[in-house]
Amino acid sequence: MASAKPGENGSSRIRNVGRAVFLGTGLLGAIVLIKTLYLQTFQHGKWLRRYEAQVYTQKRYHFFRKPIVDKNGYPLAITIVEKSVCADPIQVSNPAEAASTLSKILKVPEKTLMKKLSSKKRFTWIKRHISDQKAQLIKRAKIPGIYIIKDRKRYYPHKWLGGQVIGFVGSDGHGLEGIEKCYDHVLSGRESNKKVARDGLGRLLWAGAPEIWADKSELKLTVDSYIQFVSERAIQKCAEKYRAKSAQVVVLDISTFEILAMVNWPFFDPNLYKYYSPEAWRNRVIMDIFEPGSTFKPIVVAAALEEKILRPNSIIFCENGSFRVPGHTIKDVHPHGWLSLSDVVKFSSNIGAAKVAMQLGAERYYHYIRKFGLGSKTGIDLSGEARGIIRDWKSWRPIDLATAAFGQGIGVTVLQLAVTFGAIANDGIIKKPFIIKDHIKQNEGRRIMSRETAREIRKMLVRVAEKGGTGAAAVPEGYKVGGKTGTAQRIDPRTGKYSRGSYTALFVGFAPADNPRIVVAVVVHEPHGAIFGGVVAAPVFREIVQNVLPYLGIFPKSKVENT
């Protein structure tokens, strides 16, 4: 080469520098790899734990409270998501301004808001369950520290329909009354924890639905919302017409003893439970006891027939309306002379019934009353059921035995009465009534009287609803029905004695007469203007039956013949 010396010099120099750079590269590469290996093997567990701790978090999934549906699957109680306003008072920079803005939108007094916003808590509800429109307005106002969150709410789409039966849920999401309370453990959503990944900003990643979300089950009742509705409409008309204090209806399916309707008037809308008095929450059908009056007579007759003391055509002297029992006088509304047993029922003679009871004797009569399930719970799958009051026969005076024949001195619930008639209509087999559809399987019956006795009583009850009977007003056009009226004096809770102007009007019956499908018990407490079961309660029965039987596929006879 021409420029040999500097060239050679530079040549070896650059070779050395290049070699140094390459060796340095290799050395640093090796160090990096060793450090990597160290991180990934020796320290692997440590970094993996840190990784899992920062990336994964436990998310609690809370399942929606199960819906309650009626027999046909129509919803009676559902859980919906609504918007709620809440606040972190510490972040609210100007409580006065925030309060005035919010009070304009929410129509809440400024003072209450001011109090909430100036507290030292980190969380407070401003208003729960507001409309989307209001939520939008609040969002747009952009008040610091005020948040809109999604909040679950139990909603009852049919409002008062079966309100007392369904009950309601408190703000903590647990049932406080009715089925919501009784089946809280079934309805309330299960919780499940799931490992969920999140990002560096703390946002959760969607990692698939938790298994429990697949659970779409619901609590199905035997209540049919149509029958419930029809019953409610009928009883409301009657209760308003006679300015009653309260009224109840039960509709029972005879073949299974499932509750088709359970009505308490005055109605109660569980959506607004806070605005009702706790009295209105009560499911009086199973909780309140009252004297059943003449509707009790079929029981004494059944006992007499079972014991073969009397036969349907045996005749009884009804003392022309006035019968002395030691210390007391029993009276009939209409005086009767000699009546057959069947007519005693048809004309509802107290004296006749009392005489039957006295022939039976206290012990046997008591035994039969208990056999009908009275004085003990029916065993319906609801909580809070009353037992009723049947005093032990040993403490009965003669007058007690006599009056017990027409339902005085005896306390029953509407449901007990309906079940009693259900047993008569079901050829003498009594069953536990139930309201949860799933409980149908474990429902074995118990015979309490012979098939013949039941048939004889049904014949008598059909006669009650014939022309001239006390229950003539209960017969819908085109159907034959059976039933019993009742008019009971109410005990004044203040004096403990029967009050003069206060009555309970009843009608309990079954339909259709030849092959009963349903039992309807109608009880109207303290009607004004009319007091008799045959006048007040029987038309309610008629209206219910008239609407329900075609719905069940049983059409009126005369109409069929005409067309």
Partner: protein
């Protein structure tokens, strides 16, 4: 033709003559592998950003095509053209870098204004190209002024002032890593060109001064240095990046979480598809993937080194040394940063990181290298 003749004549005495193909192949594989890792590291981020998981992959794919075009075009021109133009290119890029200092001209991310926004949404980072031009310029100038290198003022001091100008402009963006690279390349190439060793003693002094004024006295840099070795002092702020990188790599273990399975990229690991893309490799592919990647890079550097050993022409030898060092420093520094050996600097990993400028700059360097292999092979080095 002369070319064919030259090939025949010099076939046996040039050791690295076939290596050009291997270098090209390895860099292509690295770019393809980079696309896979980039997609894994960026798809969730871009999904969150604009609903399109392929957003960054698409852009990087375009840059990849540009890379190959640039490699081809660069290798089309004779090296003497580059050597002659390099001085003016350095001046041109100094002007561009100076332009970035005018407020409102450059585009800034995280307080660093390093980019020109070109039409079509392309970000152009002049510093990346300035490095290349600087290397080419040094190669030509040091050979041309070989005789003057023995003098302290005409040699080391002269280039140090040049380098300080260039590095100062880059430092003002601020881009400390880029500035350091300019200085590092200069030192390597001055050493290679034959500057007396004793002159380098000055750098101890300058280095101490630079360290004091530009590192120790600049809070965030010093904190970065400190936090590299004591990240737990401030794990939520200065120590955050390195801790997250350790978590990513360490939790990967031998086999990794699986491609696309790692969750560190979900805004835990900062810059998961640019500066810390190697952490994602370690996170998702484990030590296996990490060592394969590093070995691939080392093979790439080895191939460069092997072919460099065959270079005869002084300019080419110097340029080769510069480009080899540039690649080596960028790759190794990035690796060392990611595992926590070096303080965190904004240095992309060649071929793997997202970004057009550094990829195209790498394309220019690779194109120059291929041209050097070709010219060495046909003996065209006697162009003077």
């Amino acid at each position: 033709m002369g070319i064919r003749q030259g090939q025949k004549n010099s076939a046996s005495d040039i050791p690295g003559r076939h290596v050009g193909r291997e270098i090209f192949l390895i860099s292509s594989i690295l770019i393809a592998f980079g696309m896979v890792i980039l997609f894994s590291a960026s798809f969730l981020y871009s999904l969150d950003l604009n609903g399109n998981p392929f957003y960054f992959l698409k852009k990087q794919f375009c840059y990849g095509i540009v890379f190959f075009v640039v490699v081809f075009l660069t290798s089309c021109f004779p090296l003497k053209f580059y050597y002659r133009a390099s001085k003016w290119a350095v001046v041109f890029f100094m002007l561009l870098l100076g332009g970035l200092l005018i407020p409102g001209v450059g585009t800034c991310y995280n307080n660093a204004c390093r980019w020109y926004l070109l039409p079509g949404g392309v970000h152009f980072q002049p510093a990346e190209f300035a490095k290349v031009c600087w290397t080419v310029y040094l190669a030509s100038a040091l050979v041309r002024r070989q005789e003057k290198l023995a003098s302290f003022t005409d040699g080391l001091l002269f280039y140090t002032i040049w380098a300080s100008l260039l590095a100062g402009l880059i430092l003002l963006e601020p881009d400390f890593g880029g500035a350091l690279l300019i200085g590092f390349i200069m030192v390597v190439m001055l050493a290679g060109a034959g500057v007396p060793w004793r002159h380098f003693l000055v750098y101890l002094l300058i280095g101490a001064l630079v360290f004091y004024f530009f590192v120790y006295r600049v809070d965030y840099r010093w904190e970065r240095v400190i936090s590299t070795y004591n990240p737990w002092d401030n794990p939520r702020a200065q120590g955050y990046q390195i801790i997250q990188s350790w978590i990513a790599i360490g939790s990967g273990g031998i086999l990794g979480h699986g491609l696309g399975q790692g969750l560190e990229k979900l805004r835990f690991l900062p810059e998961p598809f640019t500066d810390f893309i190697l952490s994602v490799v370690g996170h998702e592919l484990g030590f296996i993937g990490m060592s394969f990647t590093m070995l691939f890079y080392l093979t790439f550097l080895l191939a460069l080194y092997e072919s460099w050993k065959g270079f005869r022409m002084p300019e080419n030898r110097l340029l080769g040394l510069g480009i080899l060092s540039l690649f080596a420093v960028q790759i190794l520094t990035n690796g060392a940063i990611v595992v926590g050996l070096f303080p965190t600097k904004g240095l992309p990993l060649p071929f793997l990181s997202y970004g057009g400028s550094h990829l195209v700059a790498a394309g220019v360097m690779l194109g120059l290298w291929l041209r050097m292999i070709r010219e060495e092979r046909i003996g065209e080095w006697e162009w003077k």
